[in-house]
Assembly symmetry: C2
Homo-oligomer: 435 residues x 2
């Protein structure tokens, strides 16, 4: 689907009728009061639509899921919502009954401040697992954020900063495109960095035989007028092609959440799941896919310690599900990831990982090659399982690039899958071993 998308420099408040703010309230109890927030990374964000919006959300399928996920999964299943509160510094996961109460209290506080129903507020958290939320700080933060967005609604960049944890930079995308005669906008912000291999569903229930595997949070806004059924379906497709296709370290988080609010203020003709214009459905979907893929790639690029961005493309598998298993086995292999770190086209390790994956592989039928992004020229290292005459030096040239594509053709069927992956570096280990 080709269409003209205009990039906007605004963040999450680019679509009409959204307000956002981000504040520092010392959720990690670093010892500095809420007041003196100069130079401190913001840690609490509130996002709201001026008018009721249709809502959709997808959440981690981890059996150990955080309290805010338990609250939001129910509220995202509704047709309508109005606001989201999100904090970094504490995941509110493995916090038992008190954690669940705290998550609900957070939505209650926002509801009170904004004068909207509690059940129309969703909540997300990210940070350390197993520590109770410092609710005194959280309350100060919510009051301050709601105050800030009432005074001046467009603090998108503050909000984008407040949700970050080990990320080195904020991640924001906003686009404008035409639906009929109306200009419509979709925007998003997200965070990632570690514990990244999302496998999200609308219910938090794991679909059978689905690959599983971040804390990543993503918030999307649009002023398009779309019904709840279509919004849920569109978000499903967009996430299946983006966030559920990335891996930094193969660990699926307890807190992964993607939430979208669509408030209809663009005034386009209602897009519905059934009936109406199929073209407009496709146009909205294509724009949403663009935004989510761009954000998902940013997460991998800013993965903890990551020094390479690799697009693993598996084709010719028995099924799409097997292609996915093959691609993830490669993208999550410690030996493959460390070879990428070294810029080493060690295809032996890749074949090894394919071989132990649960996908059907026949060694002497595998083709394996490398290309630079945007180039049509694939340098094949293996054809039918046998090394080609391609020189190691020319393969190295590609694999030493920051960003390259790995092409695996299994020649077993028509299944295909793409996984966007980071390498494994000393910096990752150093960061995560703590101390």
């Amino acid at each position: 689907m080709k269409q003209s998308l205009k990039s906007l420099s605004d963040g999450i408040t680019a679509p009409r009728g959204f307000a956002a703010a981000g504040v520092f309230c010392d959720i990690k109890r670093l010892g500095t009061g809420t007041g003196s927030n100069k130079g401190k990374k913001k840690d609490l964000a509130v996002l709201t639509s001026m008018v009721p919006a249709t809502v959709a959300g997808l959440f981690t399928t981890n059996q150990v899921c955080a309290a805010p996920v338990k609250v939001s999964v129910v509220r995202a299943a509704q047709e309508i919502a109005r606001a989201v509160v999100a904090n970094s510094g504490n995941a509110n996961a493995c916090t038992g009954v008190q954690g669940l109460k705290d998550a609900e209290t957070m939505t209650q506080m926002v509801a009170q401040q904004l004068g909207i129903p509690e059940r129309e507020v969703l909540v997300c958290s990210t940070g350390r697992i197993g520590v109770l939320m410092p609710m005194d700080r959280v309350e100060e933060g919510i009051v301050a954020a709601c105050q800030a967005l009432k005074e001046s609604p467009e603090n998108a960049h503050d909000a984008a900063e407040a949700i970050l944890t080990s990320d080195t930079k904020p991640k924001e995308v906003a686009v404008e495109f035409k639906l009929g005669k109306r200009k419509v906008r979709i925007a998003g912000m997200c965070k990632g960095a570690g514990m990244i291999q999302p496998g999200m569903s609308a219910t938090g229930q794991r679909p059978a035989a689905t690959p599983l595997h971040a804390t990543m949070l993503c918030f999307l806004t649009t002023d398009a007028k779309v019904d709840s059924a279509f919004l849920k379906q569109a978000l499903n497709e967009a996430v299946a092609l983006s966030f559920n296709r990335i891996t930094v370290d193969g660990d699926m988080s307890t807190n992964d959440s993607v939430i979208i609010l669509a408030n209809g203020l663009a005034g386009n003709k209602l897009i519905k799941a059934k009936g109406g214009s199929a073209t407009e459905r496709d146009q909205f979907q294509a724009a949403l896919n663009h935004v989510t893929l761009k954000l998902a790639r940013m997460i991998v690029q800013d993965g903890e310690g990551a020094s390479h961005f690799v697009t693993v493309r598996v084709n010719g598998a028995v099924s799409n599900a097997e292609a996915d298993l093959a691609a993830r086995a490669v993208a999550n292999s410690s030996l493959v990831k460390t070879s990428w770190c070294g810029g080493d086209p060690n295809w032996g390790r890749i074949l090894d990982a394919l071989g132990y994956s649960m996908a059907t592989i026949v060694e002497n039928q595998v083709d394996l090659g490398y290309s630079l992004p945007g180039s049509n020229k694939i340098l094949w290292a293996l054809k039918q399982g046998q090394p080609t005459s391609t020189s190691l030096a020319s393969l190295k040239k590609i694999v030493k690039a920051y960003d390259f594509d790995l092409h695996i053709q299994l020649n077993q069927g028509k299944g295909s899958a793409i996984i966007y992956a980071a390498d494994l570096t000393e910096a990752y280990v150093e960061f995560n071993k703590g101390e």
Copy 2:
């Protein structure tokens, strides 16, 4: 099964009637001739029994399996074998038709030198994948090794050195115990270090629903008199409790092989799979289990870059298979492994990994604790999913130890599993990124 096992300082030639040798033949083509092997790590070993021996073998279930595995899997299925040739420096994997010919030629060369049938010689390789064997060097090596063992049969330590790759030290175990009135010996040598998470079977076929996931090679000898059926069954049990329960980096190799030869020279009454003394079956099994577990633990302890040895004990799973899935999810999580590297009892990451495993977990029913090996005192960090009053400092004291046990009680059923795991360190990344 309690029995008296005497440790012997000899290696693989401790049992009566075995001869072994290890030589340097420059398989990596470092440029030094076979002759001048002073100071060079040996790279080719030959092991043989003076008399025909019963044989059993277990091999990688990786769909991409090395040429020597393809040859040996067939020969280990026979009742009788006489010799094994093994090299380091080249895996002879992903080497196509020529690779298979080369593996067969290696067995032919040994057969010729030792004057035994070709089909009674097994072959194993370990090293770089995708490079053809330097057969001129290999031939020189085989001739030299066979000459060496004819001149002096007991060069166990040379053989143990010749099979090493990135290992920092040789791994040998030998024990003596009584079967009836006879003293019987079992000995073994192995190598490991990286690409370690074996999942081996006798046919190289993957059992359905089995966890999969090293190059490790292990050669075992015994002078016990056991029939082929019992030897195969006993090796299966021993490997299920040892090599198939370890993980360094979660990567299952193309070359994993465990081979045992039993030549009967101890003169004990034949131990058979069916009939005869059940006690003697149990005694042999217990001694074999002791040897394989000791060797398997040495592989993890000498894992690439490893700085901690962690025994993950999962109990209370729905089934043993689910316990295994849970234990492997924890033992292979990059975030859990890096936290071990840092000596950090980050149980949040452990719960996260349990949650995304395919085992059934109920967060508020999980108990999680730590102990020092050999101690009965478990310090519980979590009970019923909730942090206990145990201080972080006392947990850290255990997790900072080189060797500790992690206890996970799921409280869902009676399934249990143990996995022996290494941590993930900067040294692992540095070593494997190459260059």
